[in-house]
Symmetry: C2
Subunit: 380 residues, 2 copies
Amino acid sequence: MGVKDRAGKSERRATLKEVAAVLGVSPATVSNAYNRPDQLSPLLREKVFEAARGLGYAGPDPVARSLRRRRAGAVGVLYSDRLSYAFADPAAVGFFEGISVATEEAGLGMLLLPGSARGARDPEAVGNAVVDGFVIYCMADNDPLVGAALGRRLPVVLVDHPGVGDVPYVGIDDEGAAAAAAEHLISLGHRRLGVISFELTREPAGGLADLSRPERATFGPSRARLRGYATAIKRAGLSVSGVPVFECAGSTTEEGRVAAEVLLGTQNRPTAILCMSDQLAFGVLRAAPGLGLSLPGDLSVVGFDDVPEAQRTDPPLTTVHQPHVEKGLLAGRILVAQLGDHEPPEARLLPTRLVERGSTAPPDGYKSMSRPTARSTARS
Amino acid sequence: MGVKDRAGKSERRATLKEVAAVLGVSPATVSNAYNRPDQLSPLLREKVFEAARGLGYAGPDPVARSLRRRRAGAVGVLYSDRLSYAFADPAAVGFFEGISVATEEAGLGMLLLPGSARGARDPEAVGNAVVDGFVIYCMADNDPLVGAALGRRLPVVLVDHPGVGDVPYVGIDDEGAAAAAAEHLISLGHRRLGVISFELTREPAGGLADLSRPERATFGPSRARLRGYATAIKRAGLSVSGVPVFECAGSTTEEGRVAAEVLLGTQNRPTAILCMSDQLAFGVLRAAPGLGLSLPGDLSVVGFDDVPEAQRTDPPLTTVHQPHVEKGLLAGRILVAQLGDHEPPEARLLPTRLVERGSTAPPDGYKSMSRPTARSTARS
DNA sequence: TCGTTTTACTGAATCGTTTCAGTAATGTAC
DNA sequence: GTACATTACTGAAACGATTCAGTAAAACGA
């Protein structure tokens, strides 16, 4: 193509003013043709469209329009990690699905911001996002992007994140749900538990810790879940500091597998493992055969999330169910309502429920007492 | 709260000009403080930030900035249906994942436009989208939103959509892949085939048709796949018009189930079914027991997509593998390259491959000839 | 000390719309 | 024929930034 001249791209797009000029009318009239047909004779309106077509004018520029109208027509979504992780995690996908229902109802777009991946975090993206509000999903307490988003002074909904001031908040009772999961194992007779956790700090060390200091976790739901596990364990009269916690940098099957190998490689290995997500639990299921363990006889596993696949693993996964889609829907609706100055639905904690499936059983050689039934932890 | 006064929300946010006024400097200086630190004494810069903090000014307004800079910092994604469907379909989710990798690399946001659901389609959303370009994914040929997006004169990548002019295009060889799927069944000895298809027209009738007029489908990949099925069937000397095609409005398990019940409820029922997606095929698997059919003995099923779950069904699903994530990644990269005036990767057809699993076998009482091996259909 | 460069800032134009307050022309009422 | 309403359009001021061409002052070299 010879000289590099940006191959034809440079012809500037026509503007409303130019369309007006062609017809010898005022820009206001052209604007009205697009936005307020009743302010115009139908004839002139047609002429405007025709002239526009002639100039290749595709209608008012969205950016200029947004500036003038002061609305962007989209809501921003902030996620704690790389977006591609979100798409690989059925829990996040379910949540996004819920949001999308709400935004679609309102005719709004859904802007997924470039993830706040560790290291490469780029607060500019939040400052540059052309949105009318934010859904902040599952971010570390001290993530600077949260501050950046709040600083924009737009309507915001916080999800799975500790409340900030009077910002609407949607989540679950992580602590109660985690406690229920631990209680389930304990009541089956397990005494040696292990935990596979999300990252504990913003710069996760990875590797082993114990359950004695849940408060140091910088990630709201992790902290609450650790606390829940710890509470149940203490209540049963067991030692909290004896419970190994393996910290995973991400919620993937692979990380779960590695964690399981470490946790189960110790002498006096746990007979049951509590996982903070189903993805991690799947990793444990995958690791078990290689370690010569069969489930649930040699090892019990509890997940968290109840993603659809949890029903189909072998054995099916006992896990804490939480309503991901509804969580997204509620968060989305609250945000949308704020934008339209409607009365928003009440922000709240959604119910969870322990779903007992085949991955948990009394430890080998233990006679179970009465088995507890599904327990629902909800608060309105 | 007594009088409804928009509870404190109305305090207008401060502007750059106001920050400048407070300090008695020019707006240009404040702008420079944010955008060109080197144009400013560090001392003054600090003062600017301090004044900004005092006024609750969170930095330059993204919309105004976009207007002036002429870039939005986001790419738009157009999908043929309601977004919530996309999130429920692992194939689409994989595609989105790929896009997100590309946009994230470039620090761009990913704006999912409110779906072009049947009926409620709202071309305004496309015209109003604040984006630097579009990925158009899987839209009907004559969808007005495609025209609207093209009309914006922004860089565009078309995915799974018939090419338009010299717009970059990414897809697979749908026809070849479909033909391979049909050939597989035929070589197993099946003679009575059925097809479960996506919508054939923009206003899908639902229900039965036959394979004799693939060209009327208004949806590129559907058309190509029907053509592929037909080609293979003709090549085998079978009658194309004898092949029942059930049209589903959406790609869901439920629709697949219904379709299977209709297709298999006829006398002289098909011994094998070709599905245009794994989701539809899952529906067939689910319907089979109720119809007293066991797979693959009584019925063979082939899917399309090879979503992860296809490996875990019972029996595992024979299906056409296509690289969803890579498709998204490639589309995203091409778009991003165009935005930055880089040389974009070459647009192309990605390879597919028939994956034979347990859901296909020779029809009952038929002795199979040599079984064909996985066949790859790729073009660069 | 003079001329030149560098530093630190400013003024004003511009990005492309929307919208509000008019205004001239036409229509209606009596 | 006058008063009033309606219709069809216009002018100009926002909306909130960025940027380019300057300019005055300070620093520098010889």
